[in-house]
């Protein structure tokens, strides 16, 4: 049963992204929200941690932090809150890595 992994903290401040990545299985999806979106910025040291994984990022949180979409790691998709809801529905459960 697939998991939507929610990460809301900066990968530079906390250990939550690292652990979320360790717990991602095939078919799982990661959604970066709040300060978690910084992980999706290309050029940052944390970017390599999510490369090749199925990762989405919340657009409103990106925009708030001044990150334009062309700065995102390749393959990361941007969703709005409605897309967030769809991800919750299309996965069997949600794990928030608080």
């Amino acid at each position: 049963m697939s998991i939507l992994h929610l990460v809301n903290k900066s990968p530079y401040e906390r250990d939550s992204l690292d652990t979320a990545v360790d717990y991602m299985l095939d078919g799982d999806t990661m959604l970066l929200i709040e300060d978690g979106v910084y992980a999706a910025m290309s050029g940052g040291k944390a970017a390599s941690k999510i490369s090749g994984m199925k990762v989405s990022v919340l657009g409103p949180d990106l925009a708030a932090r001044g990150i334009s979409e062309e700065k995102l790691v390749d393959g990361v998709t941007v969703v709005d809150y409605a897309g967030f809801v769809d991800l919750v529905e299309s996965n069997d459960k949600v794990q928030s890595w608080l």
């Binding site: 049963m1 998991i3 250990d15 939550s16 652990t19 360790d22 717990y23 991602m24 299985l25 069997d92 459960k93 949600v94 794990q95 928030s96 890595w97 608080l98």
Partner: protein, 135 residues
Amino acid sequence: MSNIKKFMYVNRRAPYGTIYAWESLEVVLIGAAFEQDVSLAFIDDGVYQLVKGQDTAGIGMKNFSPTYAALGDYEVTKIYVEKESLEERGLTLDDLQHLVWEDEDDDWAEKDSIRLVSCAELAQVFAEQEVMFNF
């Protein structure tokens, strides 16, 4: 849908520095009355919750660590501890409380509650769950 769901309580915080560990345990205790299929996972700093010998007299807080030993009485018997998290912190199972439960179906034999598992093994356990509780 069956009325019994697989509940996983994920604990990633150290005790006392924040209240999450204690208020999470309160949910587990209340939740026991609902007779679901309950598991607890201790990952990252969550493993510190189970360290034995906690003495909170000097910080004026309630020492809630004895409550973990009571989980068996609440039929909470599946306690997963992540091996990598322990090792990174220089801890072994000997540093943790010895948690047990009595198996009604096996002449009340005392059995270990703690299951030391790798991250990869625990990820498979997560895959089987229906509801993840996070604090």
